[in-house]
Symmetry: C2
Amino acid sequence: MVPRLSSGWPSRLFWWRAARTPGAHGQPSTRNGASRVPPGVSPRVLAGGGPAVRRGSSSPSSRGPEVALTCERYPVRRLPFSVVSEEDLASFERIVPGRVVTDPEELEASNVDWLRTMRGCSKVLLKPRTTEEVSCILRYCHGRNLAVNPQGGNTGLVGGSVPVFDEVILSTALMNQVISFHSVSGTLVCQAGCVLEELSRYVEERGFVVPLDLGAKGSCHIGGNLATNAGGLRLLRYGSLRGTVLGLEAVLADGTVLNCLTSLRKDNTGYDLKQLFIGSEGTLGVITAVSILCPPKPGAVNVAFLESPFYVLVETSGSRAEHDAEKLGGFLDQALGSGLVTDGTLATDQRKVKMLWALRERITEALSRDGHVYKYDVSLPLDRLYDLVTDLRARLRPPAKHVVGYGHLGDGNLHLNVTAEAFSAPLLGDLEPYVYEWTAGQRGSVSAEHGVGFRKRGALGYSKPPEALQLMQQLKTLLDPKGILNPYKTLPVQA
Amino acid sequence: MVPRLSSGWPSRLFWWRAARTPGAHGQPSTRNGASRVPPGVSPRVLAGGGPAVRRGSSSPSSRGPEVALTCERYPVRRLPFSVVSEEDLASFERIVPGRVVTDPEELEASNVDWLRTMRGCSKVLLKPRTTEEVSCILRYCHGRNLAVNPQGGNTGLVGGSVPVFDEVILSTALMNQVISFHSVSGTLVCQAGCVLEELSRYVEERGFVVPLDLGAKGSCHIGGNLATNAGGLRLLRYGSLRGTVLGLEAVLADGTVLNCLTSLRKDNTGYDLKQLFIGSEGTLGVITAVSILCPPKPGAVNVAFLESPFYVLVETSGSRAEHDAEKLGGFLDQALGSGLVTDGTLATDQRKVKMLWALRERITEALSRDGHVYKYDVSLPLDRLYDLVTDLRARLRPPAKHVVGYGHLGDGNLHLNVTAEAFSAPLLGDLEPYVYEWTAGQRGSVSAEHGVGFRKRGALGYSKPPEALQLMQQLKTLLDPKGILNPYKTLPVQA
């Protein structure tokens, strides 16, 4: 029996289930192979040992073999950009003195993505502190025809945040200042390099929450969140960044600073230019500052962890614990009474809530420990959401190990993961274009929230008509005629 | 004493107050000059007599003098577009047989805006029923270099919806079909010409609400709502169209159909092209179909009409009447106890709720009956929201009659209205650029939700930096190189 505790509105809703593919070998992954979690189980057991590994700061790297160069693994040719010279390095040193990184070891973490499946060979990383410095860097690179890879926390999952060849890495790591916070409206204005978790702490101390939360919060930058239009764990509750971001500042390819950093709830003075930069993955400009509306911190938060054939995590937030308890209790009574839910546990205290969330947030990490992960992130009609998983389980054979489907039930977003001991080209051939065709057949999206980056640009045509792809390319050409910003990413692969 | 009735979360929050300018003559306007409304007053009295006049279907026209041609009142020169010929009319007749309007009397309603301050001299209005027909029309006009004025319900307040010269009027009036409605997710897909109020009724019968509501709902089209990024009465509760619109279909200037009509909550497959068309006022393409997420209809709705020095209208929506009653009751106790609110009335039954809302929704109409209205619609920091009103009252002299400030407290949106018996150029000179400079001084927006249209394009520079204006112009040139779509609107006035 589920204890009746307090809650209000379903604000987050997730689910996952795991099973091994027929004939697969190897250990089931820590989280997903676990058998049914008994209700009321000790939070310590639920959360597993040790602190959460943070995407970006600690990667699955240490265990795997050397990551192959992207340009060797994938058929991609370097575009005719200039090569960074000694003179260029000297110029960079004048722009950001003492913040020009050329040490190969230091560069390693920025050349390789968190999943360790992509590796660039950049020779230089720059750490500007101000918009003005970003502008100087881009103006210089534009003049010299040097390609630039903007980088936030490097937590992306589609190879969008690391160089493909020798692009100059422009890191927002030192652009981490809060500019202002309005304690009545909850409007936060900050530099693009602020780490999401730190912003979260900052506004929570002031009675608000950031309308965005995701597993990579300990490393990801708010600028990167905007650049990738990150979805995450609070989208169902607070809506997408398209609505919660009030303004931004971006530097264009030629160094022009575009200041759209307003803090107004309503502003219909012409085209909403900020939307161009949200979700364009650094290909149209580099986001340098952000203005975002933070909702009031909910007075009552409840998490329900339920079991049917699926694990379902529901978080509610409201202002009155007793009201929320009544509503959630009523819902659970109904769900249990009808047999829809077989078992579960509820949490209201912060510690247990966090531990339940860790189960969900660490799935990505758990998967990465199962070997090479083929990751797909699709939007599907709700009633077909899990069919792709069962379909693939029936279809795939070794070297596939596990087919794992989890995701965001409220958003129709399936995270589909297929693991193998190591990268296998034939397995990739079994997965693609099959997964994309299946998704297109349901009029779904081949990238729900992870974006396009390097990996999915060949799949864009499955979700966007040719007219849309052409307009994307025209926008890219308009804003970045030399194509120096995050090349080889986001735009459809040229024929 | 305010009765303690039921409510939940403040979902709409409005206020207004009226006073006459020193030395002004004439009658106080019906609504705004009214003295304090006693609490518990009969709903009949509150709502006034007769059915609500709908913007577009009935305009303040019948009383006023003939509306001057826009091109005679304002310094604007016709661009070198072709003139519609007999041959063109024959071609249109082949594209939309029986739906080519050339009768001057019928054209009148589409040549003059609802405020009756702008008049075009278009000789033809076309009524396509399908996207394909819109595409054929635009392809033809593009080839012939004919300017086109897309028109929905013609309820706009900035002169964006009527021709300035002899543009071909492309009306969405017959594109009024619901395409699909998903009864679990609440996703509504429909043609652009559906009237907001009819959509509202359609989804409410199915247990949902449109996330958008505004005074012009009886006439405005959903396509026009998107094209102008309409804010309205539910923005505080459900967020802006930037978040609630899931997809759209638009026809570009050359007739290309851009199908971004998905119904997915999450879709990060490249640039979010639909955002280009939301709020671009028909200058980048004609929206032909819309996919929008409708939230569940709230089980409990309460409206509080409060008085302090200001009238404040608060609407809450929730799922449990008794919970909401407790929360709203607590809030009112506190507000009354502290002296912040002096008096008021509460409503839960649908009839009284509607009547209270009519007080707010009919302010625009009431103002228009006071003579010529100089309308401003600005976003300001909350703590300066009303200062512009008091400032202007002290500053203006006759022929100004009333300075009325009302708006959306939760959004920081002030609707500033100055009335006079008739249009007066010197009064305009007193108002502009003063109002814009004042707003820019507060880093506000010179158009919060009404848009730019014809009237505000000279004011864009007060809220957007030159780099942004330039990018807007570049986008216009990219998408509509001949400039045939809604010319003389939205873009900054060329030097």
